[in-house]
């Protein structure tokens, strides 16, 4: 059994392997043109798989890279993407664990298993972020929260794309009855399928929760506007009678009731208090307070 790990898809090493194992030119092209979808293709003599490891880059964004695997009867070729340390880490972990392994299909399963498990910490991280966002949307609905909701939405849309394709890949693999994979591995691949399906469930649930965050955000803003309006109304209710009555007694006309009496101020203040009190009682009665 030979395992060739090509570190740079542009290297002539890949061309030599392609010639030796009769790899289809389209598959070599797929290795060299990045940004493929996760997919599996059954070619004469081997099985071609494009996997999509995901990592978080320096800007904090989720990014998918390509990792290509050719599985034959007695060989395994893995093609790394040059600039990505994650794929290298995954492959070296598998290499260490599988040092004595003689069957390429077992290594193939192990790569798949490691890949699918590598999605889980990313999903957990996202889940925590969404929990925080929900609290913030309820407590302090600022434009920053809105922006965070939408950047997480983008991430979920992106992850969902990767996971749906990976699930279809594993499901296709199970139906394929590929001759290069021994049937004793069937329950193991079913297990991988289970894990991808659970990951996808989590993404769907998070999409649902994030949509809820936006609803919370909008509801919170509406609620706050409503409360601000009420403050304004109460302020107006308290101030307007005072303004009207003091305006009334401020007129330069004759015959203002009680203006000449010694209790002028008392009369004015009393009428202000009565009218304001009446208005507040009205607001209370109609449930606006």
């Amino acid at each position: 059994m030979e395992w060739h790990n090509v570190l740079d898809p542009a290297s002539p090493e890949l061309d030599q392997l392609a010639e030796r194992y009769k790899l289809h030119p389209l598959h070599i092209e797929d290795c060299r043109h990045r940004d493929q979808r996760a997919k599996i293709e059954d070619a004469p003599g081997y099985l071609f798989t494009v996997l999509k490891p995901v990592h978080i880059n320096q800007e904090g964004d989720f990014v998918a890279v390509d990792m290509d695997v050719f599985l034959g009867a007695d060989f395994l070729i893995t093609v790394e993407e040059t600039e990505c340390p994650e794929v290298g880490g995954l492959i070296s972990r598998v290499k260490k664990a599988m040092a004595a392994e003689a069957r390429p299909d077992r290594i193939y399963y192990r790569i798949m298993d490691e890949l699918v498990d590598s999605y889980l910490p990313l999903l957990d991280k996202l889940n925590d972020t969404i929990d925080e966002l929900e609290d913030k949307a309820l407590g302090s609905p600022t434009p920053e929260v809105l922006q965070a909701i939408f950047s997480n939405k983008r991430t979920l849309i992106f992850l969902r794309g990767v996971l749906v394709n990976t699930r279809d890949l594993v499901s296709h693999l199970q139906r394929l009855n590929c001759q290069w994979i021994n049937s004793d591995l069937a329950p193991y691949f079913r297990d991988v399928y289970d894990h991808v399906a659970r990951n996808l469930d989590m993404v769907e649930i998070m999409r649902d929760l994030l949509a809820g965050c936006l609803d919370v955000y909008l509801s919170s803003v509406a609620n706050r506007t409503n409360q601000v309006m009420k403050v304004l109304t109460v302020l107006g209710t308290i101030a307007l009678p005072a303004l009207v009555i003091s305006g009334f007694y401020g007129m330069n006309v004759k015959g203002l009731p009680g203006a000449e009496s010694a209790y002028g101020v008392g009369i004015a203040v009393a009428s202000m208090a009565i009218v304001t009190g009446f208005l507040l009682w009205m607001l209370k009665r109609f449930g606006w307070l």
Copy 2:
């Protein structure tokens, strides 16, 4: 017929049973790594099932635990989750009812039936909560109601996940034609399927109703804002003419009409009343009142 009930999945008892009945290592691993999805797997010599009993924990949250069942020709192994009294209760109820039973498939059916029935009181409880929330969202749309709507949404998303997997499990079981289950039990498993499907219907309806609660909430808030605005407008309509006219008569200028006459106050008050009345009549006419 032997029924082994393993109380602790980590105990060596499970390893001995695995050796004796040739249980697949992946299934033993599933028993020990919790948080599996409900699933059924047909292995040589036995049928492996992961069930998900749900209970309400001390914080009032809905929590699912794992319960694993191995069904063979003449044996039944159930694996409890250590920290969960609910699974223990379920198993002891089945044990009591099935004391004299000699067929493992009948006990297997009974466990399934008890499990599915155990979801019903939880769903009824949720339904009551949602009814209350709808009333509150209409009557007093506070942020607490919003928070309650979203925590119930989370619960429903969670329950839906458990029930969808359980339904797929039972549906898979019906198509499986498993040799360890006698065909006379077919109508009974169809009955279990019916119950899960009905539970799932209830969850879908509750999701729909909860989405409605949020709409009621938003509509109520919008309506209240609208009413507060109207109060402000009416207050303004009543106060502004009075303010403008008293301001007018408060000016230190000459020639204020009627200011020198003895009916000064009368003239001022009359013009205030006329303008306010006219504005209120306008508001009424355009349907803003």
Copy 3:
């Protein structure tokens, strides 16, 4: 041919019939435990059907009851729900129309046909209610309209559940090739299927229209808030210049322009009119009026 109509599912009559015709205990249990889903089950010797007649109860709510039918080669057993006059009415109508009928499958078809037709007046009633609600949501969006929208939504969710199950039942019946139903009835059952499907179409359309009602409601409220705001703005626009200028001339300071002249009032009023006119012209120009 014998037609047994059991008036009370709890009566021993049902047990005797069960023994005589070898009815499955699960089906007898289904007759006695109400709130089943509409379903059809092919048992050895007979066909078991649960139908769901719907009626409006005294509180004006839509309520579904159970009606069970056992169809065999030469017998028909119908089980009424004790407290429901509607099922009784349906059965007596069929009895009258089918007095001389000797084939149980024809009576079975007739019951199905009557049941499906009985949904139509209920749907028409709902349709009228929704039409009214749309008008009200546009004309006077009060909280009562909101409440009515949501109670009708509940009714539609409920009816949809009943009709979907009934449609699946009839569709299942068509695929079943049941030996107790003569093939000459096939076009008649296709006709029943057509009617259920049309009913379901109506429910879906009504759901769509009711969702539209809520949108109309929210849009109406938003529109009204907007109009109230405009009234406030116009009021403010008219009053503020007057207030500012009269306040200006009300100051106890020296040198107020024109305050000493005989045209003081004229100057003040003219400046108020000019500023107010200018503001109104601005509002008009920017399309805020």
Copy 4:
């Protein structure tokens, strides 16, 4: 080949034809009870089709009528709906074009083709209406626009129902391998299917655009409220300092700063201008202007 065109489904002519060609009583009933769904049914000896021509009635509403077609080996029966001139027009157009045609299946195809083409001008008309509505929703979001959006939504829901059933009808026809239709017509019916599918695409796109119209409407209203609020705020910002300061100098107290000086008015006006300017600068700085 005989083509019978029945003008009135209630006429005894239809009964005679039913007897002569052994038409199924359920199909005759379908001809006489209007408001059927578009459907196709394969009966012994003939093929029964219900088509749904759509026209615009005097109130401007889209209305569907029924048109029934029986196709046999050597006969064609079309049943018009009495009160509808459109069906008559369609049939006379086909009659003219097919005067010398001897094969009933060709005429049947022609009727189908004419029917499907008759939907197109209606769809184009709707499309224009929706374009206008989008402009209006953006430019002047009045309640009339809202009402128009919802009446067009109703029309689309209705048309979609008709077209979905017609598409299923044609698709069913293609799979049927009906003996009364020669296989050389297969590409022609595929063409009809293509046209219905394109019509349905248009309806779906229009539904999507109309949903967008409502969003535009709500967004426009929200935007206008926001702008009205800003006008109010700016007005308040300009007026309040003037009011506060003129109120200050209007107090009948001693020691008003500068009140006794000759520059009293200048001092007051200057402080008003400074405070108002400062507030406007603040608003501008925080982006509220």
Copy 5:
């Protein structure tokens, strides 16, 4: 091998080719009546394909044209749309690359491949536009942004229609086992399918993001309204006490407290400051600031 490229579908050249290669009249009609859906049809002797190249016209709108391809055992006929330079460009690119090619199926594949690749720059352009719109919706939610969101929505609906049909076309082609296409091209057509599917994924993601833009827009407007309201409230809070108190001391009544003292102004200003401070502290305490 002959490749006929018809520049004008109305030219008699097409009629001659139709006669020579026995092309079906419906397909010739399809070439001449534009605005077909992308589709593939297997006719005796050849394969008929309608492709839909998309370009941006002078108004900046996305427009699809028709391009028809007839593929036979030893001939290829391509029909351009007269007024469109893009189709001409595509064909001349293929002609140059395939100058020495003797197999029509290879040229057919190349045309397909070029077509599908030609969608990519358009999608990238749209993606950039949507990114910009999201930023604008958050930063400055003007009606222009709203209009841009909806015109991009129209474009996406349109592109989705074209791509869905193209994907179905390629998928149909793969299942067809067409005799005019050698099986060694199968992986190449699978590759084309992959590209269309990826394009469609992009469109779906963009639809999702654009829906998000509208949510951002509405949320931003609501947020701004909320902030404007707060400014108004704070302004009112600062001004109202001053107005009320200066109004109070402006009354022409006797006994105003402190009005006669030398500290009159001090007393008035101090009470204004105290009340305003208290209100601001209240607002702060209830989290309204």
